[in-house]
Symmetry: C2
Subunit: 550 residues, 2 copies
């Protein structure tokens, strides 16, 4: 049996190694267009930064090591240029020749390629880079070394754009980010991304949002924005998204679907018999709402690679889809998410509710506890968890990993308080932020608490709601005040309750939403109509800094 694999990195090489473990006698040939296989794409930005010092660390395996250990026939600089599904042949092109290979089974893991929008002047520009491969990173590094650029423009503020913005700052460049969407880190919701925008700003990165680059001038030295503004750039990184690498698949009329991705069945088989596909190039089922989506992440690519090897080897495996869990470090902040965000929920017409809780990465009484802001999206009737997002300095990965596990397992917000986590002062809290998010969500579902979101506050205030801030005097002075707020510290609320007019609905805020929730309960039981400002001052002042009175 001969198995051909197109694409020798995450999905392709995971399939190859697993195939070998299950089939010592199969002939396994891996075709890779680029000069390297099995490289750490995800490490590329950190290599630019100099955090990963040795280039060799990026090369997890080499053709030689894969030959020695797995008896794999790895062919770098060999592009598959055509597939004939009838004759089961692939045409391969390298620098010397073109030849054909027959296959019994063919696996496509061609990945995705950076989107390059047809912007005016892009062809003439000499300083525009994209980042997908080791040669790309070499080109960027060489350019920095030789041209000593001072100013960089990063177009696109997704995960790779932000990692590269930080890396370029670490290399001493002055960085400006241009993002067409309304906010950086579009996979996250606006108010969560605001923390990352603030961090970028604090670290000297300039940000333009809701603006696309519309032209490059002077060989790329000038980036022109939609509004006519011009940015100087010595080096421009284009990271506006990726599209599936389907050129060779299309030569065999392999079916593509959502956003041009390769369509596979629940055994990763395409519409052509014995041709399978995995990784960034395929359409996957978003497990939470069963809709088609594309998820360009390494963990699903690796898993799918192993699964397709199992399927080809006759083991019982299913393509169940993915939920999408991602993380990014941006200087001293970390942002992560799993499942669906608000935009996705809105577009799929799902009813959802939102809570934000702010906890500590470990016990507050033990030194160096970081703040964890956790957002949960859930069905207000069933408690089904749709998604979670978190930002903070520390422990962000852990909370999102737990919630990703909970979502995969079909746990509801009712289950979150029951979860028992490791707790000792350096590691957690007796009530972890994940438990706490469960409590807060449960209070919403059971009607114990009602909340409004940050974007509703201004309207509610003009509708005649009273805004009650229960923080202490010292906090108001240190951090600023909410507009038109009545201030009664929580611990004086019982004695000063009569100061709050009873005929108007009240919105309560504090710093994180915890004390205001306690105030809400107190006031509710005293006959007030009251709602909690979800996320409270901490969140509001981050997403609406211009409304804070200092």
């Amino acid at each position: 049996m001969r198995i051909l694999i197109i694409g020798g990195v995450a999905g392709g090489m995971s399939a190859a190694t697993r195939l070998r473990r299950l089939n010592e006698d199969a002939e396994i040939i891996i075709l890779e267009k680029g000069p390297y296989v099995s490289f750490a794409n995800c490490g590329l930005p950190y290599y630019v930064a100099g955090e990963i010092e040795e280039r060799s660390k990026l090369l997890v395996q080499t053709p030689e090591s894969l030959q020695a250990r797995f008896n794999l026939d790895v062919r770098p600089e060999s592009e598959a240029i055509a597939i004939n599904a009838q004759t089961k042949e692939v045409t391969v092109k390298n620098d010397k020749e073109e030849y054909t290979l027959v296959y019994d089974k063919l696996i496509l893991s061609p990945g995705a390629k950076p989107l390059i929008p047809p912007i005016d002047g892009i062809k003439e520009a000499e300083n525009i880079f994209t980042l997908r491969s080791v040669p790309d990173v070499d080109a960027i590094s060489t350019y920095i070394d030789n041209h000593k650029p001072k100013k960089a423009v990063v177009i696109g503020a997704g995960f790779i754009g932000l990692e590269m913005a930080e890396s370029l700052v670490q290399r001493g460049l002055e960085v400006t980010i241009v993002e067409k969407a309304p906010h950086v880190l579009p996979p996250l919701d606006e108010e969560m991304a605001a923390y990352i925008a603030k961090e970028l700003h604090d670290k000297g990165v300039e940000i333009y949002t809701e603006l696309a680059a519309s032209a490059f001038e002077e060989s790329g030295k000038v980036v022109v924005l939609e509004n006519g503004e011009k940015l100087e750039s010595d080096l421009t990184l284009l990271s506006v998204g990726v599209k599936p690498n389907t050129d060779v698949a299309l030569t065999a009329d392999i079916e593509t679907g959502f956003r041009g991705g390769i369509v596979v069945d629940d055994h990763y088989e395409t519409n052509k018999k014995d041709i399978y596909a995995v990784g960034d190039a395929i359409v996957v089922k978003q497990q939470i709402n069963n809709q088609d989506t594309m998820i360009a992440l390494a963990s699903p690519a690796n898993r799918q690679g192993r699964q397709v090897a199992d399927i080809i080897s006759g083991l019982d495996r299913f393509n169940k889809g993915s939920i999408g869990t991602a993380i990014v470090r941006v200087f001293d902040q970390v942002a992560a998410s799993t499942g669906l965000n608000e935009m996705q929920l809105k577009s799929s017409g799902e009813q959802y509710d939102v809570i934000h809780v702010q906890g500590k990465s470990h016990a507050g009484y033990y030194p160096n506890a970081g703040t964890v802001l956790l957002k949960l999206l859930f069905n207000p009737a069933s408690g089904k968890i749709y998604g979670a997002q978190a930002v903070g300095t520390d422990g962000i990965d852990k909370r999102i990993d737990i919630l990703a596990t909970a979502i995969k397992a079909g746990l509801t917000i009712q289950d979150l308080p029951e979860l028992e986590f490791t707790y000792a002062p350096p590691f957690g809290s007796a009530k972890d932020p994940v438990n706490m998010a469960g409590y807060a969500a449960l209070n919403i579902i059971e009607g114990v608490s009602e909340s409004i979101q940050w974007h509703e506050l201004e309207e509610k205030q003009s509708d005649g709601h009273i805004l009650l801030d229960v923080r202490n005097e010292s906090e108001l002075i240190a951090n600023g005040q909410l507009p038109n707020a009545l201030n009664i510290p929580l611990d004086s609320l019982r004695e000063r309750i009569s100061e709050i007019p009873k005929d108007q609905p009240v919105i309560v805020s504090c710093h994180s939403g915890l004390r205001s929730y306690i105030a809400e309960r107190l006031l509710k039981q005293n006959g007030y109509k009251v709602k909690n400002l979800d996320g409270a001052f901490a969140l509001y002042s981050t997403i609406r800094p211009e409304r804070i009175i200092k």
Copy 2:
């Protein structure tokens, strides 16, 4: 309505605050025997060490703050000495008087107290301490300040004993640990605990296991062990376990069960109407095997406290039991566990299988990745996960929290590869150790791999199994050799396969078990009868250092 609560810390005060949030008008009185309420028991060892510098940090709330915020009537130094379940009265004793209080509902959260075995000379000793409360920690700190002890003996190597051993070393003492069980950290299995024993040893702590202290001589200055050996001690910490604090419960004939714990129903109600109990003092159902157990941890105590408040307030809650998730830092190592260990599985007659995998806390190609050794206990037929343990420097809490979530959700090992975790180089790997554990366990279940455990090796070798070590020459030199092992590096195995006699069963080892598994697959498909040494050299050399040839 008057609600009385006995015990003003984790379970009791969590019940009190939640009760207030749900019942603004209830009268809530908390009786606490000691001088402090709402204190951070779990922080006490870190205060001894000086890591938590301010004593005030240990006091999460005070009677005054609880009065101001929650209108709670908190009565420290007030011991409940008797309960009359008929008349619904509690007798309270403080330094001035005894009085009775009637209640509508009574919640017991009296916690547990340190076990003090009746060892000869214990009464006469002047330097023996236990640690449960702030006064206890004050006594230890004062003793250290005044007496400048040089040598300490810690009796009992459970979580608190180990935390205190480290704290005392940090305070400059020479520490010896005495543990009756066969190994330190008895809640973990022997080979996992061996990593902690090694760390203690490396940090200069002497350890005696399988030995109890049998007498104290010279006012405690000498600790005599069962075998007659004598240890000098300037300060002795007794941490041999806890027992439920049931004195006051027994005055009302409240039913106790397993290990003397208070028996409650699925609404936390005792056999006496309107008397509820939570926390360390109650018997809980181990959710994994439905057996009675005691779990003395803060997270369940806090949860139960809130749940009993809900139940009393008419909300729909159930006492579902606990699985038990715990963690301890011991110098630079961290050990954690969730669910059942081997001893518990054996004693409950469960069929189980074991795998160990060694992964990295984050991508190996990114700096400072720590080693995560993960052990999974699972049902070989159904894949049900019984428990997990992990040791390492970093990321231990995360993996055990994920697995605790998986266990609570009823996920099986078949589900673990499907879990999608946050992955970027500083935070994880494309295949997290949790995914990897799933793969390895699945290979066992599906017969792709067979393994033996570390304790079976010696016997297998004398039974005529060949031990094949597939590490490289350089590793043998650096780390030592396994006894009587044939060495063929994995990458030369195909060409040198004929060196391995085909008529004898083979056990393969490498460093972590990954390469030996690859070798196992290679050999199996070449007709060998072969098993993988689970955990391989890294594990074996830790638990059986005396068998390693250097």
